[in-house]
């Protein structure tokens, strides 16, 4: 049952990544790898949150680092820069429900201005959801960019036809 849940999560994430990626016109040859990265990343976040007890921000950070490293590894084969692979793969992890709840609680806050108790409750909900949305988005982007800082030589030459020679110690 657990395995089915994880696989289903990965599958749905892969479909979501392909669809949301398609809006931004990625090269056709990159689609299978985008789907794979999204599935692995989202399934990892799912496992960490449901079975490992991690919170959404740290689970997103781990998943983003894995997606970033994966795009570095897979980018060479299709001659795509890392961002072309990892941005679509990160899109299904953008916390849409928290963003929605932020908006919804803001509307309810405005509607209940006359009742201080209730309006404070909605304000609290607003800040809670806004904080989660912002920190998850930051973790996603920063985590996936992190491998560029470590492996910058490889990351900058993924679209190069000629493979650069490995620099050896003299």
């Amino acid at each position: 049952m657990i395995v089915t849940d994880i696989l289903l999560d990965g599958l749905l994430a892969a479909v979501a990544a392909i669809g949301f990626g398609a809006i931004s016109d990625p090269p056709m040859r990159a689609f299978p790898r985008i789907a794979l990265l999204a599935a692995v990343g989202h399934a990892l976040r799912f496992c960490m949150m449901h079975y490992g007890g991690a919170d959404i921000a740290s689970a997103s950070l781990c998943a983003a680092v894995v997606i970033g490293l994966g795009s570095l590894w897979l980018g060479r084969g299709v001659r795509c820069p890392m961002t072309v692979l990892y941005i679509p793969a990160l899109l299904p992890m953008i916390p849409g429900i928290y963003a929605y709840k932020t908006v919804f609680s803001l509307i309810l806050f405005m509607q209940s201005l006359g009742d201080p108790g209730q309006s404070m409750q909605y304000m609290q909900l607003f800040f809670l959801n806004a904080t989660v949305s912002l920190s998850v988005i930051f973790m996603l982007a920063a985590g996936a960019t992190f491998p560029i800082f470590i492996f910058n030589r490889r990351a900058f030459s993924l679209t190069r036809r000629k493979i650069p020679p490995v620099r050896r110690k003299q």
């Binding site: 392909i18 669809g19 398609a22 309810l108 920063a142 960019t145 679209t159 190069r160």
Partner: protein, 255 residues
């Protein structure tokens, strides 16, 4: 050593190249790196400074020492990852194959003319993506099916409005309103209606500028990064307005 004419031509071309890259949604440091690589392949040192609307470029002949500066506007192009890959590859080809400026320009024109993905294909995949997004958030099958339909309607409306060249913010408000209004049909059925409503306008979330903004900030291009984030935030506010209009209409059935 370059003649004044050659320096002019190279700078003009690199200015177009850089503005196309930035316009197609490539993060700043990649644009700078690619443009400098392209300049180096022609024996010219390029330095850039960029905001969200303009780029300032200075080209300096590495042998003669002569320098030229230009300011170019960044065209508002749709985001394209394919162009990002192709143009990055072009800058490496220019170095590795020692291409002449004319050859680079010809290849650039060919890459720019490549057709985009078929709009109907994009429409269907976006519908499927949003439906599976609904599934990820715990929506049941009925809710996913409703989100699929709502997304098709909302995204098709967005495509039509874009073809008419309407203001971007208005498009997002209208599309969010249309999609969420269609999804509010879920309230009539016995399903996870709130999740359907919440997911329906999510195909409009500007994920690429959001992520690009953070990448720019992390890589030190803080001003451009913050501008990108503010831009994305405005679009999110537009989604909120469109969704909010629907929620105000149906909120009694949601509470």
């Amino acid at each position: 050593m370059k003649t004044q004419r050659e320096l002019h031509d190279t700078l003009d071309f690199i200015a177009t190249y850089a503005s196309y890259l930035l316009g197609s949604g490539v993060h700043t440091s990649r644009v700078f790196r690619n443009s400098q690589r392209l300049g180096a392949s022609q024996g010219i040192d390029i330095q850039l400074s960029s905001s969200l609307k303009n780029i300032i470029l200075t080209a300096r002949d590495t042998e003669g020492g002569e320098a030229l500066t230009r300011v170019v506007g960044i065209p508002a192009l749709p985001i394209s990852f394919e162009r990002n890959s192709d143009l990055s590859a072009l800058s490496w080809d220019a170095v590795d194959e020692k291409l002449s400026l004319d050859e680079i320009r010809q290849r650039f024109d060919r890459l720019i003319d490549k057709p985009r993905m078929d709009p109907i294909f994009v429409l269907l995949t976006v519908g499927l993506a949003n439906a599976s997004f609904c599934g990820l958030f715990g929506g049941d099958l009925t809710a996913s099916a409703i989100v699929f339909t709502a997304t098709l309607v909302g995204f098709a409306a967005k495509q039509r409005m874009q073809a008419h060249g309407l203001n971007h913010y208005l498009i997002v408000i209208a599309a969010a309103f249309i999609a969420s209004l269609c999804a509010s049909a879920a309230l009539r059925f016995d399903c996870t209606a709130q999740i359907a409503l919440a997911t329906s306008p999510l195909f409009l979330v500007p994920g690429v500028p959001l992520i690009n903004g953070v990448i720019d900030i992390v890589e030190g291009h803080v001003l451009v990064g913050v501008s990108r984030l503010i831009n994305a935030l405005l679009l999110i506010v537009c989604i909120a307005i469109g969704l909010g209009a629907t929620l105000l209409m149906v909120k009694d059935s949601l509470l």
